[in-house]
């Protein structure tokens, strides 16, 4: 393992499997009455959130606390950042406080990478702009593996706003590493230009992809980023790319429905689909804590690696 987790592409197959296997063992902790391990006692994890994301932040917070680390939550709102402090000065402050790991969420793609050059501790990317969200990909892979067994040769459809989705990018990279076949499904306007270089296939037609998918992962339509005419109306998007009961009926019986949350019920996913037994949406939240515990343990649980990075 490297010292930082910035991109899903940083993970070799062995690294990824080590994280997933570790998470498998850690999952048992959340079933115990004492959900706490002394492993990271005395270590400090800073959650540095420049963008609001309550669920990702509390997921990291729960993960760090279950490993007995001290957690400092640093949100940009109302802090010196809004008074104009630079990322670098914030980094130096954290460094002075002795942060062993910094979990960063930032609206600018590449911010975690910059931060990694400034701090001695580990940096974990908790979502940077439209770039990546590697722990989300890990928890998704973990969820799929628990339900389906191995990911080797499994077909995963990722549907929706690929253009703005860091979740899609991290998932494509990680799932390719783990041997799954990914098909991205979106209207042409919601594919990024660079998508041709991604290790996956593409389609504009959800109905053609559904019957051969083991997993259908719906992405949130990010209304806050829909600042241009990416599609005519929400209703039309929903009819062509929304997952409703009829579409679910065309999926194989074992196929899973996933969503990274938060959902727009009735838009990209019908409420009854979101609440159906094949939906893993609630499970994904629990698995998020477990997967992040595995990442924090593997990054911080041992000696500082020095030359072995």
């Amino acid at each position: 393992m490297r010292r930082h987790l910035i991109s899903a592409a940083d993970l070799s197959r062995d690294d990824a499997l080590l994280i997933l296997d570790t998470a498998d063992e850690l999952a048992k902790i959340s079933e115990r009455s004492i959900k706490k391990l002394p492993t990271l006692r005395g270590r400090t994890v800073v959650n540095l959130f420049f963008e609001d994301s309550t669920r990702t932040r509390i997921s990291f917070e729960a993960a760090a606390k279950r490993l007995s680390a001290d957690v400092i939550n640093f949100s940009a709102k109302g802090s010196s950042v809004s008074k104009g402090e630079s990322l670098k000065d914030t980094a130096l402050t954290l460094e002075a406080m002795g942060a062993d790991a910094v979990v960063i969420r930032h609206s600018a793609s590449g911010a975690p990478h910059r931060l990694a050059g400034w701090v001695r501790g580990s940096v974990v990317n908790a979502g940077d702009g439209t770039h990546e969200h590697p722990t989300q990909a890990l928890l998704d892979a973990f969820t799929m593996r628990r339900r389906l067994g191995s990911l080797e040769g499994r077909r995963v459809a990722i549907v929706g706003d690929v253009l703005h989705s860091r979740v899609a990018r991290s998932n494509v990279l990680l799932l390719a590493t783990l041997g799954a076949e990914v098909t991205l499904v979106a209207p042409p306007t919601l594919f990024p230009v660079s998508v041709g270089s991604w290790p996956c296939e593409f389609s504009y037609d959800l109905d053609a992809v559904l019957p051969k998918s083991d997993v259908v992962m719906m992405l949130r339509v990010q209304r806050e980023r829909m600042n241009a005419a990416f599609f005519p109306t929400e209703r039309e998007y929903s009819r062509r790319y929304g997952l409703d009961r009829d579409r679910v009926a065309r999926m194989p019986d074992h196929a899973l429905v996933m969503h990274p949350g938060p959902m727009n019920r009735g838009m990209e996913i019908a409420a009854e689909v979101a609440d159906s037994p094949r939906s893993t949406i609630v499970e994904q939240v629990a698995n998020g804590v477990t997967a992040r515990m595995a990442v924090l343990y593997l990054l911080l649980g041992g000696a500082e690696l020095g030359g072995e990075n």
Binding site: P38, L67, E308
Partner: protein
């Protein structure tokens, strides 16, 4: 791994072979039955990886002698170790408790080699988080001495005086393809 036995370089010495290990485990099973008055309330918890295999073998012997099935589990202590900061993060082993848990039971921890006692200390911490046994005992195939904590085994397969420069390596059929305990001069064994 198994090659290391046949090609053991100068300095490696076989201390126990297969039949020796078997005899030691048979004796320990009898001792457990004797000290626990028939093993009624006993749970065997092996420390991965080889302690788990040893625990299963002890349970098999106990079943044979007493006709009693003793529950067997495994207890990984990695997350409770006190030397985590000294080495790179290591992969976790399995923790699996018997269905009835360990509350009120007599837990016998089983490990292959007893050395500093730090693994056992970690195991006691781990047990503490998992339940409240009525009592905890310790069985080790080899006790090589050099304790750093006030911990002593209740059942020992073989007391093996060693120097700190030596290392003890246990090979078990289930894991390594053959049964043997080697004493190595190099310090790379552990």
């Amino acid at each position: 791994m198994a090659d290391a036995i046949s090609h053991a370089r100068g300095g490696a010495r076989a201390v126990l072979d297969g039949p020796d290990i078997n005899r030691a485990l048979i004796r320990i099973s009898h001792e457990i039955l004797e000290r626990t008055k028939g093993g009624e309330n006993v749970v065997l918890l092996g420390i991965p990886t080889r302690g788990v295999h040893l625990a299963h073998r002890l349970a098999a012997h106990i079943r044979q002698f007493e006709g009693r099935s003793v529950p067997v589990g495994s207890l990984d202590v990695t997350m409770y170790r006190d030397d985590l900061r000294l080495r790179p993060a290591r992969a976790l082993g399995r923790t699996e408790l018997p269905a009835d848990g360990i509350d009120g039971r007599l837990v016998v921890l089983v490990d292959d080699v007893l050395y500093s006692g730090r693994t056992v200390r970690a195991a006691l911490d781990a047990l503490n988080d998992l339940g409240r046994p009525q009592a905890v005992q310790l069985a080790a195939l080899v006790d090589r001495g050099h304790r750093e904590l006030p911990i002593r085994p209740d059942y020992v397969g073989k007391n093996l005086p060693t120097s700190k420069a030596e290392s003890v390596k246990v090979y078990l059929e289930e894991n390594d393809g053959r049964d043997a305990v080697l004493l190595l001069k190099e310090e790379d064994g552990r």
